[in-house]
Amino acid sequence: MSKPQRPQLTKVVLDVLKTHEPSVVELGKLISELDGVSHVSIVVGEMDAKTETIKMTIEGINLDYEEIERAIKRFGATVQSIDEVIYSSGR
């Protein structure tokens, strides 16, 4: 009997608050360069004079959530909530 694989994070959807500049293009590029990330999708939600709330969907293999959160924080944005998470056990 083969050893069961550890569940891997394959998708996470985040609600992020950021300023208009640097743009979502730059944030998307930054996140897409992280290990394991294969797709990044960003949809801009609410906007006011200086900030915007975005819905960020990150997909890939064996995603490291801590690293993603660190990268977003380093970028100067904040994760407001985690709206969806998908783990895959590989079975």
Partner: protein, 206 residues
């Protein structure tokens, strides 16, 4: 090679990220403004030193003009760097605090904070170096004359020509930025230089 290559890749990625934030801070536009403004200051300051020393006081020793000119360069450089750094830093810190309040987070140890400090240093360096470089260009014939026996009159006219060329280049650069007539913009700067030189020559009457 593999480890070194990936470290280099990481470093390049970090630099690109910081550059992104610096662009968001509109650093290039501010630096460009300071570059022209302060190089113009430096060129005019040396023009006044050369013209008043030679035409008004009849200085024949190039060492005198180099000493006064370099002291001027240094003072402009120090004043440019420190003044701009402190002003830019204060403005950027205020903006950073505003963003912290908007995002309800601490931006310490983020790229935004690092870019804010880097932007202040970068802009201050441009502000400090621009007048020094502009002034050094016009002083270079006198520096050469300190080591080689050259006719002082020729040296002064070469320095003035180099000064006018610097002013023209700055004007042409502004013309290119504003997408207007480059030659006309350069000539405007040269005219301001000629006017300044004329006023300095008039000092002889005092």
């Amino acid at each position: 090679m593999g480890q070194g290559g990936s470290a280099l890749k990481r470093l390049l990625r970090r630099l690109r990220e910081l550059r992104t934030h610096m662009r968001a801070e509109q650093v290039d536009e501010i630096a460009r403004r300071y570059l022209v403004m302060n190089a113009f200051d430096g060129a005019l300051a040396i023009l006044s030193v050369v013209v008043s020393a030679y035409f008004a006081v009849d200085v024949q020793d190039p060492r005198f003009i180099v000493a006064v000119g370099l002291a001027n360069c240094l003072a402009m450089g120090i004043s440019g760097f420190t003044g701009t750094f402190m002003t830019e830093r204060a403005e950027r810190l205020r903006r950073l605090k505003e963003i912290e309040n908007l995002l309800l987070t601490d931006l310490g140890d983020t790229d935004r904070e690092r870019a804010s400090l880097l932007a202040s240093v970068y802009v201050a360096l441009i502000d400090g170096l621009a007048p020094m470089v502009a002034a050094a260009i016009s002083l270079s014939p006198f520096i050469i004359a300190m080591f080689f026996p050259l006719d002082m009159k020729t040296v002064v006219y070469v320095a003035l020509a180099m000064n006018m060329a610097t002013l023209f280049t700055l004007g042409a650069f502004l013309g290119r930025v504003s997408k207007e007539n480059i030659a006309l913009s350069g000539l405007k700067m040269v005219l301001i230089g000629c006017g300044t030189a004329l006023l300095c020559v008039l000092l002889k009457a005092i």
